[in-house]
């Protein structure tokens, strides 16, 4: 069974520093709901330096979503801000952290060299 969100968080933990978050200091907790189970990913950010763990209590920002949805967000098939607007991804706490951290999710998967890729070769 694929677990794209878990993969994303593990990779994020290995990243160490993320320049997109260089101005950000704070903690974000992801509550990933999978049936009766809730997995927690605790992301602490110190000026772009990132630590990821399963441990941690209250966070400055809590983001809660079904695992199915978070897998889609983590793989770029769903846009995080749109999911927030439709209440599928529920955020509590510091909104700035949400807006900041959603930028590190990948874009939608692209077909390589598809006809939709309009960029001319450089």
């Amino acid at each position: 069974m694929t677990n794209e969100s878990a993969g994303f968080f593990r990779e994020l933990g290995r990243r160490g520093h993320e320049p997109l978050l260089a101005k950000v200091t704070g903690s974000v907790r992801f509550d990933v709901v999978d049936g009766t189970r809730t997995d927690r990913w605790f992301v602490s950010i110190e000026k772009g330096d990132i630590m990821v763990s399963h441990e941690g209590g209250a966070a400055d920002c809590t983001i809660r979503a079904e695992k199915v949805l978070l897998d889609e967000v983590a793989s770029g098939r769903t846009n995080a801000m749109a999911a927030v607007l439709r209440g599928a991804l529920v955020c509590a706490g510091d909104v700035e952290l949400l807006v900041a951290i959603q930028r590190i999710f990948p874009g939608p998967p692209r077909e390589p060299q598809s006809s939709r890729d309009v960029r001319t070769s450089r």
Binding site: A22, A82, L85, G87, A92, V99, R103, G107, D117, V118
Partner: protein, 689 residues
């Protein structure tokens, strides 16, 4: 939109009703209570003893508050006014309405007061395009509230209606059965609250939905402070004072505070349909307003930076470093049926972001913010070379990757037929419009200044300056239409000139990309008969195939466009021509009580005598509101120079004496004075220098 509609707003919450205060929306009719791009109320109709009411008068108290004076009975000439009804409405989290019924008779009046209530929860996009809803509706009364609820999967929006006086709720509205004593008054306070419901309730009240319900500011006090903070204008020509004041009040109304901005505001694009963050509009308006208020620019830079593109997303036309075009919050955006979460399809907002950052520093000396936004500014500069070079020739070009709902023209002239050859045919994509090259040039020059001054990276500064010089050299060669002596509006994908004569030439002056040797010829066009109508510069010149005096971007005159053209004329030393444009636009403003429309007709001034408003434009529109501010700046020749403010006035004689007092900036507060000496009637005919 018809003119007798009454609009009040605060941020992105607004109410559009008829002159009785009633709302009777159809799926495509744009009345109602709107918030976060959703219509929360589509029916709100008052009756007394089964009769509709007639408006005696409507008081627009403030942009956020209005009062309706009504009497029972509809459609008769003679009104037997034994009763008066007053509705006073103000926008907050939804709206608040104080309903008063005055009995003028010696007898008590037994009344059934009824308000019909409904909501279609339409997305703004649905109101524009008349689309069908996919979710389900429910209505119920609970805890003294009437709840209207819309649900589609996890998406839920609700309207809660409550009253301070006892009433009966049913699914279609609320009813008061009352007796008003002789010469007595009955009064109730109605609250219409907008609710974004969430499946999970937070114990500490910190969910997004809760935060969206910010307590209404003390709006009157807030407006007074805003006006007090702005420079004071004293002037012989009274209409300019009126226009200036109108601009300040409208700009206050156009302020929009995203949830991430801790109460600070940026300019939204227009009232009421564009009360949201737009990259281009927020940046242009912030630029126009810089000599008057600097908070808007700072917030615009921060908020746009926070949402700068970070990945490739074809649906949203997003690239790393790209500055957003438009942000929306409605249902269609939520379900990714529209790309506005946010949408990035704009080719000018990104270079303009760097331009605004530099101009902001020149006025404020706020190097702290410039340091804070170094990453964003570098990413924006990188976007120009890395992602906008779609023709492979080093010019900024655009082509949407979202073929269904993306924007075809990603420049400010964004209608489908705005970029055309002289013969009227349309070029293919990608398109490299000329003003984009100007903005890119300016961004590089200004980025270099910031790199040297603040980021302490002289090597990067050198590189940017070299690139800018090279861009300018190539541009003056490739875009210059030799036989016409102006710059082509674009290059097509084959590198061929899209050769029509447009107002974009003025933006090129503003950006500084025009060779000094070519400036005179460009100016001759801008104030010549084909482009200049007597009121202002047309978007497209008379004689072009697609010219039409009421063509949206093909012949109308845009006050915003003209304000930047005037700035450009000043930049190249054409003070008198700048005064001519400023005089035309400011005189046009007097026909609109100081509130310039988005655009007006390109008919010659001698023909129509008054400016003909473009039929469907929104009003007030942010960059039209900002136009008189930028024109004042250009008339007075205000230019920051180091720690000083240079004042070099060139005013039309018709304006007389102008004093602008307490101009804020890195110098503290300074005054500027000027006296009208330019005879604008001689500017056009005068032989060129």
């Amino acid at each position: 939109m018809s003119d007798n509609l009454i609009k009040i707003l605060d941020g992105n919450t607004f109410v559009v009703s008829d002159d009785r205060g009633d709302i009777e929306a159809s799926p495509t009719d744009p009345t109602g209570l709107f918030s976060f791009d959703t219509r929360f109320l589509s029916t709100w109709v008052l009756s007394v003893n089964g009769e509709r009411l007639t408006a005696l008068s409507t008081d627009d108290l403030q942009y956020f508050e209005t009062r309706f004076f009504l009497v029972p009975g509809a459609g008769t000439v003679y009104v037997d006014a034994k009763l008066s009804v007053i509705r006073q409405r103000s926008v907050g989290n939804g709206f608040h309405e104080e309903l008063s019924i005055l009995n003028h008779d010696d007898e008590p009046a037994d009344l059934t007061v009824r308000i019909e209530v409904d909501s279609d929860f339409a997305d703004l996009f649905e109101v524009k395009d008349a689309l069908q809803k996919q979710g389900s509706y429910s209505k119920h009364a609970e805890d003294g509230k009437l709840m209207l609820v819309y649900q589609r999967e996890t998406f839920s929006r609700a309207t809660a209606i409550s009253s301070s006086q006892p009433c009966a709720f049913d699914e279609n509205g609320i009813t008061f059965t009352i007796t008003v004593g002789p010469h007595g008054t009955w009064r109730t306070h109605l609250d219409v609250a907008v609710e974004v419901l969430e499946t999970r309730r937070s114990d500490d009240g910190t969910t997004l939905a809760w935060q969206a319900k910010r307590p209404p500011r003390n709006m009157a006090q807030n407006l007074t402070r805003w006006l007090d903070d702005a420079p004071r204008l004293e002037c012989d020509w009274e209409p300019l004072t009126t226009t200036y004041r109108r601009s300040l009040v409208d700009l206050a109304a156009l302020r929009f505070s995203p949830l991430t901005a801790s109460g600070r505001s940026l300019p939204a694009a227009g009232l009421p349909w564009f009360m949201t963050m737009f990259g281009r509009d927020s940046i242009f308006t912030s630029l126009q307003a810089l000599p008057f208020t600097q908070e808007l620019a700072a917030t615009t830079l921060r908020e746009l930076g926070m949402r700068q593109g970070s990945r490739i997303d074809d649906f949203r036309d997003e690239d790393p470093g790209r500055i957003l075009h438009e942000m929306r919050y409605g249902e269609m955006t939520a379900f990714e049926e529209r790309p506005h979460s946010p949408y990035y399809g704009s080719a000018d907002a990104t270079p303009l972001y760097v331009v605004l950052l530099d101009e902001y520093e020149r006025w404020t000396g706020d190097t702290k913010l410039v340091r804070e936004l170094e990453y964003e500014a570098r990413a924006a500069l990188n976007w120009i070379d890395e992602y906008a070079n779609l023709q492979g020739n080093g010019y900024v070009a655009y082509q949407r990757r979202n073929q269904d709902t993306g924007l075809e023209n990603q420049c400010w002239k964004d209608s489908w037929d705005s970029i055309a050859y002289h013969d009227g045919t349309l070029p293919g994509f990608p398109r490299a419009t000329c003003e984009l090259q100007g903005y890119a040039y300016d961004a590089k020059v200004r980025g270099a200044r910031l790199a040297r001054l603040v980021w302490r990276d002289p090597a990067f500064a050198d590189r940017l300056e070299n690139e800018a010089a090279e861009l300018k050299r190539r541009f003056n060669r490739d875009f210059w239409v030799d036989d016409g002596e102006y710059f082509a509006v674009a290059l097509d994908v084959d590198g061929r000139q899209v050769d029509s004569l447009t107002s974009n030439n003025g933006h090129l002056l503003w950006s500084g990309i025009v060779d000094t040797s070519k400036a005179k010829a460009v100016v001759r066009h801008l104030v010549g008969e084909r482009l200049f109508s007597g009121w202002g510069v047309r978007t497209l010149a008379v004689g072009e195939s697609r010219y039409n005096p009421i063509g949206y971007h093909n012949g109308t005159i845009w006050p915003f466009d003209n304000s930047f053209i005037a700035w450009g004329l000043r930049r190249y030393g054409f003070k008198e021509e700048a005064a001519l444009l400023a005089a035309g636009i400011l005189e046009a403003a007097t026909f609109f009580d100081g509130r310039l429309p988005e655009a007006f007709g390109g008919y010659p001034r001698v023909m129509t005598k008054y400016p003909v408003q473009y039929p469907t434009s929104c009003s007030p529109q942010a960059w039209s509101t900002g136009a008189p501010l930028l024109l004042l700046r250009t008339l007075l020749g205000l230019e920051p120079l180091g720690e000083h403010l240079v004042v070099d006035p060139a005013l039309p004689m018709t304006i007389g004496r102008v004093e602008l007092l307490d101009i804020p900036g890195r110098w503290g507060r300074l005054d500027a004075f000027g006296r009208g000496r330019v005879d604008t009637s001689k500017v056009v005919r005068k032989p060129r220098r």
